[in-house]
Structure formats: structure tokens, C-alpha cells
């Protein structure tokens, strides 16, 4: 057996993907969606001929049927924006997406009971209603960002909870974005009042501010809350301390201070009854990822359950201020499809641990996240340049320069792309990437 075969023999079993429960469920739901779509398409194709025949008959009989086309159109238009139902899955939505968990994800815009609208605007966004009545609307943003257009109504209470931050509005249009450890509120028009543990702030049109989420969320996210039927809220407002999280590696659990009596929309339970992406009810296997995991986020991360690890991180599990922990947190975020959070952790490595040997890798990975996942090529070019600067002779230097050329090209800066490609040709004339770099850099191959 040759040397390569021998080495691969001992390594091949390590070439495995992170195929944890959450990723598996997501894939299954997509398979089901495709199968349904194809069945519906096959049915409609089969019915096409029959419909053509029927249309011919209908045209003949139309004057005798008494329909009111305009009225029908108006009814359809009134139903265009689906409601966010408190108890039943919306008929207009794919049941697999909302199901019993009733969480709104990106691309869905809903009309609330008071006439306001809400729309999740990022791929990792998750929004749900805890109260949806004409006189009271309470929404919870678990993660990501959402846009709200709130109709003015002095008699109605409208609040959005994003972790420990509560946004109270009267009539306005605003955005709420929840990142790791902080919440951003941006007001398009009108005013909003933002309540945090450190006090209230009033934002007017044009204002955009980040609020520190140092007091951890009092409202558990949907998949660890009480049974879905708990929709009626107590009259008083405030937040209850959150159930203590299992201690994460490198950090202890935190307890939020009590702010008042029974919480708005909070479903505090010592035995969370989760639902999952399949829409299953509360009894689930102990090993399921959608339960509140008992292991710390680093253990989950290392076992490949990145979704569960990230959920703990998003709820405030401590991340030690050392490069390895931050890189692991970035992995959990990246591999569970939360690129913004991943970028945040990677930037912390760059900002706080410049001299660490892993920092070039952090810069390179940041570049990839910015370029491939977040669509920010100019920033990505900067990150790749940093990776090169930190380790000019390192193993990533050539790749970093190649990716920098690509990034500048995609950012539309032909001049920078050209100059970097010339540098690449000078330094790595025999590289197998040369041709591609030349293409991105606009250099004619010789």
C-alpha cells in the first residue's frame, strides 16, 4: 500500500458532514415540499385537458350562471395578505413552514388583527405572535430582522419583543433586527419607545440605534415555550426571569432580574414543551435538537449539532473571550446558517486577538462569509487582505489573494481586481488558480 493510501485509510472516516437533527429536518421538509409541488403539477397537467374542455362548455353557459366577477376579485384582494393565526396554520401558507409552531420566516408578509403588517426580512429571521387582537398586538422576534408597518391607533397596544428589548409603538414603520447580544431598532416614520433593562428610549423617524441585550431574554423562544394553546395573556406587563440555562462550557448560566408581574406573552415553564419543524406536538425524543439541550453549546458544537449550539448562543450562552471559543461560536453560527452572527464572532477574533495564530484563518473565514453568504464583496476583499497581511507566508496567503481578486471583481472595482491579479501572477506564476484569477482580474492570459 502506498503512502497516500495509507494516510487516507486512517482519515477517510473523518470526511463527514454535520448532519444534525435540525439540518436533517430542514432537508426533509424541503423534500416534502418538492414532492407536493410535483404532485400538484402532475395533477394540474392531467386536469389541463379536462379544463380546456370544461372551459369550452363554460363559455357557452356563462351568461346563464349569474357570477359577479368584480365582487370575486374584491374578495380575493381582501384576502391577499394572510393573517398570522394564533391557533391554526394559515390556509394560504405552506403548512410545513408555519405548522403548529406558527413562526413567520423570510419572504412572508402577514396582516395582523389591527390592520398592521409584519414581514421577516432576513433568512434567519423568526417572528411569532403571542397576542394578535385588534386592541392588542404582541410579537416576538426570536432572531434575525423584521419590518413592521403599524397603523396608528391610540387605543391599541403594539409591542415587539426582541430578547430583553421591547419596542412599543403607536403608529409607525420601523425595523427590528436581533443580532447576538444586541438589538437594532430603526424608525422609518413615526415614533417608537424602546424599553430595556437600563431604561426607555424614544426613537423618531430617521433614528436607528443598537440596544445592548445584557439582560437576557425573559421570553423563551417558541420551541421551548409552553403549549401553543397559551394565547391569553395576563393584563399586566413586564418580564419574568428566564429559566436558567444549562451551564455552557467556559461560562455560567445567567438569570434575568424580574421586572414586574406576570409577563406579556411569556410562557414560563420549568418543563418546556417544544414543537419542531415537522409540526409535531410536545412529546419528542430526549435526543431531539428542538428541545432545550442539556449539554453546553460547545459540546453540541463539537458533536455537530450546530443549530442547537447556536440556539444556546442566541439566548445568551457565554462565549469565553479566547480565540478558540470565538472561532467555535463562529462555526456554530456559520454552519447553522447564521452568517451575520458568524461574522460578528470572527470580527471579535480580529479585534481582540490580533496576535493569535488562528486570526489569519478568522480573517479568511470572515472574507468567505462576507463574500459567499452576505453578498458584501468589498468588505470581503478587506478581510482577505487582512488574512494575507497577518500571515504573508502562511498556507492561506495564496488562496486569500485569489479570493481578494474575486471579491474586488464582484464589488465592481476593476482597478483593484486588476492590480491584485497582477500581484498574484507575480507571486504565484505556477499556481493552478492563475487562469481564474486572470479572468477575475481582467488580465489577458499569456
Amino acid at each position: 500500500m502506498d503512502d497516500l493510501s495509507h494516510k487516507l485509510g486512517s482519515l477517510r472516516h473523518k470526511v463527514v458532514p454535520a448532519w444534525g437533527p435540525t439540518r436533517r429536518e430542514r432537508a426533509y421538509l424541503e423534500v416534502e415540499r418538492i414532492r407536493k409541488h410535483r404532485r400538484a403539477r402532475d395533477r394540474s397537467l392531467g386536469a389541463g385537458l379536462g379544463a380546456l374542455a370544461l372551459a369550452g362548455v363554460s363559455v357557452y353557459l356563462w351568461p346563464h350562471l349569474g357570477f359577479e366577477p368584480a365582487q370575486q376579485a374584491a374578495e380575493v384582494q381582501a384576502r391577499t395578505l394572510p393573517r398570522l393565526p394564533p391557533t391554526a396554520a394559515p390556509a394560504s401558507a405552506a403548512p410545513a413552514e408555519l405548522g403548529a409552531s406558527e413562526i413567520l420566516h423570510v419572504g412572508r408578509r402577514v396582516r395582523l388583527a389591527d390592520g398592521s403588517t409584519a414581514e421577516v426580512t432576513t433568512a434567519d429571521g423568526a417572528l411569532e405572535a403571542t397576542v394578535d387582537r385588534p386592541e392588542e398586538v404582541r410579537l416576538r422576534l426570536g432572531m434575525g430582522a423584521a419590518h413592521f408597518e403599524v397603523v396608528p391607533n391610540l387605543r391599541r397596544e403594539f409591542s415587539v419583543f426582541a430578547g430583553a428589548v421591547e419596542v412599543v409603538v403607536v403608529g409607525t414603520a420601523f425595523d427590528v433586527e436581533r443580532a447576538v447580544g444586541r438589538v437594532r431598532v430603526a424608525v422609518t416614520h413615526g415614533k417608537v419607545r424602546v424599553r430595556t433593562a437600563s431604561g426607555d428610549a424614544l426613537l423618531v423617524a430617521g433614528d436607528a440605534r443598537w440596544f445592548d441585550e445584557s439582560v437576557r431574554a425573559a421570553e423563551p423562544f417558541a420551541d421551548s415555550g409552553a403549549p401553543r394553546s397559551a394565547r391569553r395573556l395576563p393584563a399586566s406587563r413586564g418580564q419574568e426571569p428566564r429559566a436558567e440555562e444549562p451551564a455552557a462550557n467556559g461560562g455560567g448560566a445567567r438569570r434575568a432580574p424580574a421586572r414586574g408581574p406576570a409577563p406579556e406573552g411569556a410562557r414560563v415553564s420549568s418543563s418546556p414543551a417544544p414543537t419542531d419543524l415537522y409540526g409535531r406536538a410536545q412529546s419528542v425524543p430526549a435526543s431531539s435538537a428542538w428541545q432545550l439541550p442539556r449539554a453546553g453549546w460547545r459540546s453540541l458544537n463539537q458533536s455537530g449539532d450546530y443549530e442547537a449550539a447556536y440556539r444556546l448562543l442566541a439566548r445568551g450562552a457565554a462565549v469565553a473571550n479566547d480565540p478558540d471559543a470565538l472561532m467555535e461560536a463562529a462555526d456554530a453560527a456559520r454552519l447553522s446558517n447564521h452568517p451575520e452572527a458568524a461574522a460578528s464572532y470572527l470580527r471579535q477574533v480580529l479585534d481582540l486577538h490580533r496576535a493569535s495564530p488562528v486570526t489569519p484563518l478568522a480573517a479568511f473565514t470572515l472574507g468567505r462569509v462576507l463574500l459567499e453568504r452576505l453578498g458584501r464583496p468589498a468588505e470581503a476583499a478587506g478581510a482577505f487582505a487582512t488574512a494575507r497581511a497577518l500571515a504573508p507566508q502562511g498556507s492561506l496567503a495564496q488562496d486569500a489573494l485569489a479570493r481578494e481578486v474575486e471579491a474586488w471583481s464582484k464589488a465592481g472595482d476593476a482597478k483593484e481586481a486588476y492590480e491584485r491579479s497582477r500581484l498574484f501572477m507575480q507571486r504565484y506564476p505556477d499556481s493552478r488558480r492563475l487562469r481564474v484569477v486572470q479572468l477575475y482580474g481582467g488580465v489577458q492570459p499569456q
Binding site: 482519515l11 473523518k14 426533509y28 481564474v436
Partner: protein, 184 residues
Amino acid sequence: MPPPSIPLRLIAPGAPPQAAPLELSDTQFFERFSPYVARIGMRLLGRNADVDDLVQEVFVAAYKKRDQLPNEGATRGWLAVVAVRTARRYLRRRRVRMFVGLDLGTPPLELIDRTLSPDEHALLSRVYQILDQMNVDNRLAWTLRYIEGEKLEDVALRCGCSLATAKRRIAAAHAHLQSEMDGG
């Protein structure tokens, strides 16, 4: 109505291969076999990001054929064949994109095994970078043999070729890899 829960079926160590027909719900079927397909997909494609699409395509096809799959062994074999066919299509598309400059090749492997040393990780990444430059059929045969660890006969079955052709492809790929690893 919520889908049924998925019971886990424990198999005793050393139990003989499953010979009885599979009687699994759709979700049980997916739970049972998707890890296997995901693993093959990762090993064939070398990119974590492509695994989901491959798994989805394989299972959309698999559900149509489920009634014809007699037992677990046959199911795995059939899934592997479909996975290889799907991977072949993906890899050919990737090669075209690389040729026109829309793809810079497989980045360093995203592997979750923390026991991998940097050198081991670099070795595997280098292997996959070389595989990206290789004839797709040769690459698939070699990967099934050396990464998935299949027997030669099974490599031939999965690739839909004769045993002699499979051996030839594997040998060509291995020689190319050795040459690149020694000279690169």
C-alpha cells in the same frame, strides 16, 4: 394533523444484515437513510454546502421507488447509485463553472471532526482540490474506493460501469493524485 413521531430502532451489535422488507413511514425512511446519503454526498462532492441539495434530490427520487426496494441492503445500494449519478451531474456542472471562472474550486474542507490535526486537514483539502481538476468519472470511482471504502465490485455497480473500467479509472485517478501530491 402532525406527522407521527419517529421511533428509533435499536440494532444489536453484530446483528445480521437486515433481510426483512422495510416497513417505514416516509419520515422514518428519511431519518434512517439520510445520514448515509449525506455522508456519501460530502465525500463525493467535497463541499458541505452542496450536500443538502444532493440529499434532497436523491430522496425525491427515492420516494418514488420505495415500494420496489426489498430490504435495507438493497435500499442503501440503490441510494448510493442515485447519489453517484446526482454527484456526477453536480461535478460536471462545477467543472464548467470552474472553466469559465465562476467557481474557484473547492475551498479548504469544512470538516467537523475536531481530532483532525492541521496537517491532516490540509492533506484532505489538498486531495479534494486536486480531485476538482480531475475527470469526473475517475474522481467518483476513486472517491468511492479510497474515501467511502467500497469494494471494487461495488464501485463498479455504483458507477454503472464494468469492473475493469472501474479499476482503470481508480488507477488513473490515484496516479494523478500521487503525482500532484508529490510535485505540488
